[in-house]
Subunit: 230 residues, 2 copies
DNA sequence: TTGCAATATGATCTTAATTCATTTTTACTG
DNA sequence: CAGTAAAAATGAATTAAGATCATATTGCAA
């Protein structure tokens, strides 16, 4: 700890406690994690933990909160470069799956937080913030008219995150690493079920090329006055 | 307890303990549940619990095991009357969603069991048995040739159960009861993404077409000031 | 350097899981 | 039906871990 100000020292210690707690919770589960071990790992005395967090449950809350915050930031970054809704969905799915896979033991824990009768309002608001990344992608696509006759947003959201969490569990259980086919297929589901206009599904694919050509013609025509940069 | 034989008495007492445990775990969560309260609720002395189960964790395991067994039986019954794969999927989704909704506080708990380092092999095998109902529907459909070029079974399975669990959580969170549109839309996703639309994926180089479409989307997005008609 | 407020410590307290010596019930025998 | 040995049940005592708090240490300003 080579911090100058007191504030920095305190912040660093808080970080150390959260890091230790994250590790110990991941290794031993919530019940198995001993506060004394967390304290030891963080290089502070047992009582110090209770200076920063009221009890074990609040410590877990803090670790979970930090987890969601980081995840949210990462998700925004992952999506930012992509143009179309489907590309964004694909990028988000890729990011989400690889992120939770990288932290599986901890992710298993987070569902626990929900159980605590009180105080999960924090938790919920963090999750809300996180899934807003997805919601915005879809909302924009709907505004743009990309989705014809879409189901309620929450159903698409639950389909997306529910599928990915379960896939992550399966991959983890089978000692597999990231599987890009899972992401591709999920994106494809979105494409076929929600994005693809009803005609794409009903009429035959043979006309796909014709459709594309027709659309290119339309775009080209629309572009003639204007110019597109690289 | 008006049982005649000793065996029946013991079985009845075991049932009573499991019932009490199920209730108390649901009400208070795993940590909050006191074994003494469970014992009281079951009408036995504290020590008696430990005659039937080695510790609290094993008691939870037993409750969870019974939960999965009942769920499996119910799922088989729910599917048995239906003829086509899509009807069976719809019936299973309906059954699964309403079942876990009816027992949400407990369902939240079950994910915990996975955390315990040891002994979840039981748990996993129960879950495997349960999801076999789904797997068989899909396998038969594949054999029958209903699915052309399907994704791996586990991905469809995780999509199915993951979506439903998340939908259940959302409904529960919003104090909603069963929502049949959620089931309908999930079934529709299966129909459009896996069952129908065989040509789309098989014939035309799907990836190439997708890439072109994605690029068109990007171009179209870049044109946002100008609107392109259909 | 001194004094004081902010921090940190870990022995102590408390609560709840688990054990086990004792009691009660059951089932069998003469 | 009494006697009795095994099985089942009990709850006081033990143990483990979370939480508290009186005391000690540190950082900072005058």
């Amino acid at each position: 700890m080579a911090q100058s100000t007191q504030r920095e020292k305190v912040a660093a210690k808080e970080e150390a406690i959260l890091d230790a707690a994250h590790a110990v919770f991941s290794e031993s589960g919530v019940d198995g994690a001993k506060v004394s071990v967390i304290a030891q790992r963080a290089g502070v005395a047992l009582g110090t933990i209770y200076l920063y967090y009221k009890n074990k449950a609040e410590l877990l809350d803090a670790v979970v909160a930090r987890f969601w915050q980081r995840l949210t930031q990462g998700a925004r970054d992952a999506v930012s470069g992509k143009a179309t809704a489907l590309e964004q969905i694909d990028a988000l799915a890729h990011y989400h799956l690889s992120s939770i896979l990288a932290d599986m033991p901890f992710v298993g824990l987070t569902s626990i937080v929900r159980i605590q009768p009180q105080a999960d309002s924090h938790h919920i608001s963090h999750v809300r913030e996180y899934v807003r990344v997805f919601d915005q992608i879809i909302s924009r696509a709907i505004d743009r008219g990309d989705l014809t006759n879409p189901p309620p947003l929450w159903q698409m959201r639950d389909l997306f995150y529910g599928s990915l969490e379960y896939m992550a569990r399966t991959l983890d259980l089978n000692q597999k690493t990231f599987d890009s086919s899972a992401v591709t297929n999920l994106t494809r589901v979105f494409q076929h079920s929600f994005f693809g206009a009803s005609e794409v599904r009903t009429t035959v694919s043979a006309s796909a090329a014709d459709q594309i050509l027709a659309r290119l013609d339309r775009i080209e025509a629309a572009l003639t006055p204007k110019r597109i940069g690289t």
